[in-house]
């Protein structure tokens, strides 16, 4: 991660560098990720214990699958879902609304950064972290999915994760532009994510990567249907994320002359 951050600083994106320095110190993102990971490791263990008792019947776990593979798949999928669902929206919702709250936005508004620079640089951190997580988890994914014979889907799955993070970041930054305090921005973000059918579609595509790996005996036709859904939800996620970023840029442009 450290190596990754050093390379990010070379981009010379001031807002990204600032966020890196701040989050490194307050350990906001990392702290949250660590706790979530630990929490889900425990949760995963419990689930695994439960599955170990009743899964063979319910999920038709292929006896060839090693228990470790099943466990790892679960943990990876849940950990990613949690990163995208709990860490990203709350972080994104804080971006502009906290600037407004502590009145640092007026300083930002006067700099030479364009509205587009501000949105991209503010949103970069969660997206880069999700890329980093993907890079770190990809070998594990490959191993796991190779075991379960669904290797072709691991790249789709990784892409899906990054797109989902981009989507939530987009929703978060847009609501943070619209709200004057972080709390209402967070509430709006979560409500949108929970209720937007599109995001729930992409959310609902996720569990497949955990359960799909368990369920290798599904008929090929069914897998293709899943794949279509996943690809579709990725495309929709990208489109909606782009729209959110576009609207956020416009909003920042207007905020600049009315702070």
């Amino acid at each position: 991660m450290r190596w990754f951050e050093q390379h990010l600083e070379r981009l010379d994106w001031p807002l990204l560098t600032l966020e890196l320095r701040r989050s490194r110190r307050s350990a906001k993102i990392f702290g949250q990720m660590l706790w979530i990971s630990i929490g889900f490791l425990v949760y995963g263990l419990l689930m695994f214990a439960m599955f170990a008792m009743c899964a063979p019947a319910v999920l038709k776990v292929n006896t060839n699958d090693s228990d470790l593979v099943v466990f790892l798949t679960m943990v990876i999928a849940l950990w990613r879902s949690l990163f995208s669902f709990f860490v990203v929206p709350s972080y994104s919702a804080r971006m502009i609304s906290s600037e407004k709250e502590n009145r640092s936005f007026e300083h930002l508004a006067l700099t030479s950064l364009s509205a587009k620079d501000i949105v991209i640089q503010k949103a970069a951190l969660p997206i880069f972290y999700s890329l980093a997580i993907t890079v770190v988890l990809l070998p594990l994914d490959i191993v796991v999915l190779a075991f379960s014979g669904a290797l072709q889907y691991c790249f789709v799955g990784s892409l899906g994760f990054v797109c989902q993070v981009a989507l939530y970041t987009g929703i978060g930054i847009l609501s943070s532009c619209l709200c004057n305090n972080t709390r209402s921005a967070s509430v709006i973000t979560y409500l949108t994510i929970i209720f937007a059918p599109i995001s729930s579609a992409s959310l609902w595509a996720r569990p497949w990567f955990s359960l799909g790996a368990l369920n290798v005996d599904v008929v090929p036709q069914e897998i293709d249907l899943w794949l279509i859904r996943v690809v579709l939800s990725i495309l929709i996620s990208i489109a909606v994320a782009a729209l959110c970023f576009y609207l956020a840029v416009g909003k920042i442009e207007r905020l600049r002359c009315s702070v």
Binding site: P14, F105, A109, L110, T111, S112
Partner: protein, 308 residues
């Protein structure tokens, strides 16, 4: 440097700035004075491109701030009345962030940061966290950030408010240094004495309207409406008062703390004739002087006039 023409800003029904006209020449230090709620912050924000005027125009260095805010922003350094700092980073990181955000070339940044730290006397605090600085230091850091991109025009909104006397003096010294560097400065305050000694121009605003503006000396001259003479006598005060009241060149007299205050409306510089007449009539004058009119008197006079 700054030309404000018929500037109006309305918030709903409230007119915060009402038909304001103001000119600031390059190199001017203009004190922008008015009681709280007069519309100073609103005006400064409009000049700083942070607020759109309801009507009227503002030009900075000949550029219309509404039409081309991107071109105006690099020219100005704006310090708000409330400094929103990021407090979870170090002083140099804070400045480095703004240096990059103002797109200063990377090799020049460290030098610029050292320069503004030096100027604001914060060099020893370079590695401290922003949250660890005193209020006065935070104020200076905010000013340091404002100076990073070497703006021609500084817009300072009540820079000394909320500071203890020592910090005020430090800020004042700093402003004097900036004046000597040839910056054009618009500085607002609701307390006048704060500004009196380093502005060459003042503009007084009340309820959104410009009451008076121009050279400090000219305004003092214009506002005093006759010199006030302070005369102290050993005795026979009442008699002297009667004599003074009888003179053509004296318009008004009163006694304040045992001293006669007489308003002289005769030829300027010839008030010694009053002293002559008093002596001729045998009054024992122990002191005779022209009262000093300062900006504060002008301010009180002008603003009270506008309210009533």
């Amino acid at each position: 440097m700054v030309r404000i023409e018929n500037l109006v800003k309305q918030y709903g029904k409230l007119t915060a700035v009402n038909d304001l006209n103001l000119n600031i020449e390059t190199g001017d230090i203009m004190g922008f004075i008015g009681p709280n709620g007069a519309g100073k912050t609103t005006t400064i924000r409009m000049v700083a491109t942070l607020l759109k005027p309801t009507s009227g125009k503002v030009f900075v260095d000949g550029i219309d701030v509404v039409a081309d805010p991107e071109a105006v922003r690099p020219l100005i350094g704006y310090m708000p009345d409330f400094f929103g700092l990021y407090d979870d980073i170090k002083v140099w990181e804070y400045l480095d962030f703004f240096a990059a955000a103002y797109k200063l070339p990377k090799p020049k940044r460290a030098g610029s940061i050292d320069d503004v730290l030096e100027l604001t006397d914060l060099t020893i605090k370079k590695d401290s966290f922003v949250s660890e600085l005193s209020r006065g230091m935070q104020q200076r850091l905010c000013l340091a950030k404002t100076l990073l991109h070497d703006p021609k025009l500084l817009l300072l909104d009540e820079p000394a408010s909320g500071l203890d006397p020592r910090a005020r003096i430090e800020i004042k010294e700093l402003l004097k240094e900036l004046r000597n560097m040839g910056k054009t400065i618009l500085i607002s305050s609701h307390i006048l004495p704060e500004l009196a000694d380093f502005c060459n121009k003042i503009a007084i605003i009340e309820q959104g309207k410009l009451v008076v503006s121009g050279d400090v000396d000219a305004i003092i001259e214009q506002c005093r409406g006759g010199n006030v003479l302070h005369i102290t006598l050993l005795d026979r005060q009442e008699e002297a008062l009667a004599l003074l009241n009888g003179m053509d060149t004296i318009s008004d007299t009163k006694i304040e703390d045992g001293t006669i205050a007489a308003t002289y409306i005769g030829e300027p510089g010839e008030h010694y004739s009053i002293l002559e007449q008093l002596s001729k009539n045998g009054f024992k004058v122990t002191s005779f002087s022209e009262a000093q009119v300062d900006l504060e008197d002008v301010f009180m006079k002008v603003t009270r006039g506008a309210v009533s």
